[in-house]
Every structure is written in C-alpha cells, then in structure tokens.
C-alpha cells in the first residue's frame, strides 16, 4: 500500500468517527446555547443510545427502523427527565452548580446502566453487511457510509429546523439573549427543555451508529463526552458549523495520529488539542472573540 493511499484511508476512517464527535459536539452546543452550562451527561446519552439499541434490536429483535426510533425516543426522554428533574428543581441557578448537577447525573446514569446492562462490552451488527466497498482504491466499511449519511441527514434537518421553523428560530432567540426572548413572549423554559431533549436524541443517534464499529459498555460515556466537548471547543463553542467542523477535524487528527505515531495514546490527543485551543485561541477555529460585559 502506498503512503498516500494509507493517508487517504486514515482520513476516511477519521471522518467516520469524526461525524459522531460532531453529533456529540452539536448536543453540547444546543444545551450551552439555551442555558450556558456544559452538560457532562452528554457522553452518557451516547452510551445509552448504544445500550438501548442493543436491547431493542439484538435482544427484543425489533425491526431495525423501529428499534432506531424507540432508542432515540428513550434517550430523548432521559434528556427531558434530566431537565425536568434536577436541573429545573435546582435551588441555585449558578452555572457551576448546574454543571455539577450534570456531573452527578452522569455518574448516576453510569451506575444505573451498570446495574441494568452489566459490565460486559456489547456490540451491534453493522447495518448492512461487513464486505468493504472500494472507493478510489481505499476500502470503506458500509457502516462508515451509514454513519456519514445519517450525520449529514441530521445536520441538514437541524439546519432546516433552526433556520425555517418557528420553534427553531425561538431557540436561536433564546441563545442570543434569554431576557429579550422572554420579553417577546417565547416560552424560555420550554425551549431549555427542548434543548435537553434534542441533545438526548442526538446523543442516541451518535451512539447507535457508532456502536457497530467501536462496541459499547457502561463506562464509555466519559471518553465520548470529552471528545465531543473537545470537538466543540476546537470548532468554536456554541456554533453549529463549528461543532461539525471541529468534530470532523478532531476525528481526522486522531486517526492520523494513531495511524502514523502511536495508537496507545490516541485518546490523549483530544485533550492535548483541547488544551492547545484553550491556550492559543479559546474561541475556536470558527468562533468570534467575544467581549465580556460587566
């Protein structure tokens, strides 16, 4: 195999995992824009996506499409419960307190998953066979195409939602300014609830499409969450195109680093990038520097 072909292969596989990072990063951005907090349970949503799908599809043997939507609904419901329960009931609305609540929720979900699903790693069969396709001499797993395709669909649908529908516009208004959104009669509370629910759904999608490649277990949430967060920071925190770009970029960098340098420290790279971005350009690749008002 020539070097350039190898490189092409690494980039392809990087784009595949990068797509799921992008979905996780969008989830982070949605909640950040609505509430200003970092949702530490985001990675747990992804883990739950894989777990529910295993149950619905492999254990209960429901048809794939039904299992897919049931999973998305279930995890969206978890996101909804997280907002309706702890986040809304919180006595203090200080950001750091809310962030710690999501940390607690994340460990709690992890603990519950361990009890219900056990500690063993689980996997899903690929959506359509395992015979690799050949694209420009590089081999692609069909699952990679599914991942890429579904991510594109989700991003396009979200784009439509935020640009064209009333509810999406209302969410953007809340992100721009909570107070002025409230003054124009937008139900801010409901928009926050919606952002958690949507994040849950996005996490579920990421978990479902990723599990056939990476397998899942009760403790993968932290790592996935961390990578999604790094991707969001890399692209510019809170920005949708930034989240997508950051996710893909992180996926490719990670794949190149593990292919060309060392695969053992692959997981360390995301954090290194995170620190570098915070060091040199905290607003991210696509972010604009923002002034803090006093």
């Amino acid at each position: 195999m020539t070097f350039s072909l190898q490189l092409f292969q690494f980039i392809l596989s990087g784009l595949t995992t990068g797509s799921t990072y992008a979905l996780i990063a969008i989830g982070f951005s949605l909640i950040h824009n609505a509430t200003g907090i970092v949702n530490f349970a985001q990675g747990e949503f992804v883990m739950l996506g894989g777990m529910f799908m295993v149950t619905f599809y492999s254990v209960l043997e429901l048809p794939m499409v039904i299992a897919f939507f049931l999973t998305v609904f279930s995890v969206a419901a978890v996101g909804l419960l997280l907002e309706r329960g702890p986040i809304r009931q919180a006595r203090s609305k200080e950001i750091l307190i809310l962030v710690m609540i999501t940390v607690g929720a994340s460990i709690f979900i992890k603990g519950l998953t361990m009890i219900f699903w056990g500690k063993n790693p689980m996997t899903l069969p690929p959506f359509s066979g395992e015979a690799p396709l050949i694209l420009l001499e590089a081999a692609i797993m069909p699952q990679s195409i599914w991942i890429f395709g579904i991510t594109v669909c989700v991003v396009v649908a979200l784009n439509y939602f935020f640009k064209r529908t009333m509810m999406g516009k209302a969410m953007r208004a809340v992100a721009a300014s909570r107070r002025s959104a409230m003054l124009t009669g937008i139900p801010v509370g409901r928009m926050i609830l919606l952002s958690f629910t949507l994040s849950g759904a996005l996490g579920a999608v990421a978990g479902i499409i990723l599990t056939p490649i990476t397998t899942t277990s009760y403790d993968v949430g932290v790592m996935l969450g961390l990578k999604g967060f790094s991707a969001a920071i890399l692209g510019g925190y809170g920005s949708m195109p930034g989240a997508v770009l950051g996710g893909l970029l992180l996926g490719v960098l990670e794949s190149l680093a593990s292919g060309l340098i060392s695969s053992e420290y692959k997981d360390a790279l995301a954090f290194l990038i995170l620190l570098m971005v915070l060091f040199f350009k905290p607003s991210g690749v696509l972010g604009k520097g923002k002034l803090r008002q006093v």
Binding site: V38, A90, L96, S106, F108, A268, F271, L275, P282, V294
Partner: protein, 315 residues
C-alpha cells in the same frame, strides 16, 4: 472567631491523640489513615472550590502524580524518600500551573472539563507506560517512610504521622484564609468583577490557589504510596476525583471543618456498608446530584441552616 477556632483545634487534637487507644483493630486504624489523607486532599480542594469558586475533577491525577513520582524515584532510582516527596510536589505544582494558565482565564466550567480530561490522560499514561509505571498490574516494592532509624511500619505509627500532617495542613489553611490572600479569595469567589475592580489580581490568585491545592494533593499521594507500598492505576481514576469533590460538597464549600467532616464521613461510610459496594458509583452520583439540587452550599451547612430556621420558627 480566632479564639473559637483555637478551642476547636484543641478539642480536635485531643480526639486525634486519644482515638487510637480505643481501637485495637488494625483495620479501623487503616481506614482512619486513609481518612487522614483524604482530609488533606479535601482541604486543598476546598480552598479551590470554597474560596476561589472553581471545581476540579482532576485531583485524582494530582494524587496519582504524587504517588507515582514518589514510587518511581525511590524504588527504581533509590532516591531518598523525603526529598523525593518535595520533588514530586514541585513537579505536580508545575503541571498544575501549566493547566491553570489557559483554563482559569475562562469561565469555571472550562476548568472542570480540562481537569477531567487531564485526569483521563494521566490515567492512560499510567496504564500505557508500563515500562516505567508497571502498567495495569501496578507498581510494587515502594519503600516505607522512616525518620532516622524509626520506620513507620505499623498502622499505629502511620496513624500519628498522617494525622499530624493533616492537622498541620488544617492549621496552615486556617491561617491562609485569615490572611490577606484569604480575604482576596473570599472577595473573588463572592464577585469576581467587584474583586478585580478593587485591585485584586484575580487571575493570579486563582492560578496560585489551584497550584497549592494540587501540591497538597500530591503530598497526600506520596504519603499514600509509601504507606500502602503498592499502587495501581485504578486508585487514581476519575471516580476518586468525584469522591473528593463530593466530600467537599457534603462538608460545605468554604468550610474547612466541614471538609474534615465530609472526608471522614465518606471514607468511613462505605466501609460500614460493604454489601452495597456494587452500587457505590450509583450512590455517589445520586448524593452529588441531590446535594447540588437542594443544598448548593453543601450538605453540612444546608442542614445547619434548616435547623436554624426551625428554631427561629419555634420562637
């Protein structure tokens, strides 16, 4: 206030001194020794959380850095134990400083994420760098502590050493928060912008307190390594970071006495509840969530407040 603290300190020292007389079982002593180390970590973390308003989810990594640096230098290179501990604290301090510079300039939750990520990285390195760290199977044969010819080879000897150190850390911290630095930190946690406007260099203070907190944690880690003489990566996973944060929150942000209460309670409790060890993760998550939702200032102060209100109501 100062007089009250002095009385508390005397009572506290007295309890520490006489407690081992009633404990014949070495197991209880061992649990208490671990509690003393946790107190050091929790006090350090509370300086950061309660006084600078920042939360770190990476203290297990600093604890691990202290432990592994001490272990590697003393066991593999035969460095003397006590100076090595200082070196470990110094290196950990520098690492903390490097993390603190970019993240503490930003809002609080960046530090939470960055420290969490740092913890994951350190954990990966501990496992992957097995030629140095022993990998997942751990690092054995760490020398015991000794002063002159006196070796700390029993739980009882260690008890007095560790509790003396943790008492010293408490004294230093109580003094620190009553100093100019402490008042600056209090102002900063109350309202950062107001503090800045009154001439407090909030960034430097935040970075410094983060480094101090990491150094104290490194000290506890070194002591742990020389006490147990065997360390493995599992001890230094994120779960420990979350445990110590929960201890701070149980005791109350900004209350050093509360920290002691939180650390001792949450160290002893799991030992008495052996049957639920499987649910440890679940319980910690739930406790953390419930405290943050209902008692954002911490469980201990929250309960005291509830009692206070009830008394007022009765009158």
């Amino acid at each position: 206030m100062e007089k009250k603290n002095k009385i508390y300190l005397l009572i506290y020292a007295f309890i520490i001194l006489i407690l081992p007389i009633f404990l014949s079982n070495n197991y209880y002593l061992m649990v208490l020794n671990v509690a003393a180390l946790n107190i050091i970590v929790v006090i350090g973390l509370n300086l950061l959380t309660g006084y600078a308003g920042q939360i770190s989810l990476g203290h297990a990594a600093f604890f691990g850095l202290g432990a592994y640096l001490s272990a590697i230098f003393t066991a593999a290179f035969h460095f003397p134990v006590w100076p090595t501990m200082m070196i470990a604290m110094f290196i950990t301090g520098i690492v903390a400083y490097v993390i603190a510079i970019p993240t503490l300039k930003l809002e609080g939750h960046y530090l939470v994420m960055a420290t969490l990520g740092f913890n994951v990285i350190v954990y990966i390195i501990m496992i992957q760098l097995d030629s140095v760290t022993g990998g997942p199977s751990g690092f054995a044969g760490i020398p015991r502590l000794q002063i002159g010819g006196f070796i700390f080879n029993s739980d009882r000897r260690i008890y007095y050493l560790f509790w003396a150190v943790s008492f010293g850390v408490l004294l230093l911290s109580l003094n620190l928060i009553r100093s100019r630095v402490g008042r600056a930190l209090a102002a900063l946690s109350h309202n950062e912008i107001a503090a800045k406007c009154s001439g407090i260099d909030t960034e430097t203070y935040k970075i410094n307190i983060f480094v101090i907190s990491a150094v104290l944690t490194s000290l506890a880690g070194s002591l742990y390594a020389h006490y147990i003489t065997f360390i493995s990566p599992g001890t230094f996973s994120i779960f420990y970071s979350i445990q110590v944060v929960t201890m701070v929150l149980v005791g109350g942000m900004g209350s050093l006495w509360g920290s002691i209460f939180g650390a001792v309670l949450l160290t002893l409790l799991p030992e008495f509840l052996h049957s639920v060890k499987e649910y440890n993760v679940l319980i910690y998550g739930l406790v953390l969530m419930v405290i943050m939702v209902f008692f954002p200032q911490g469980l201990f102060p929250g309960i005291l407040e509830v009692f206070g209100q009830r008394k007022k109501g009765e009158r």
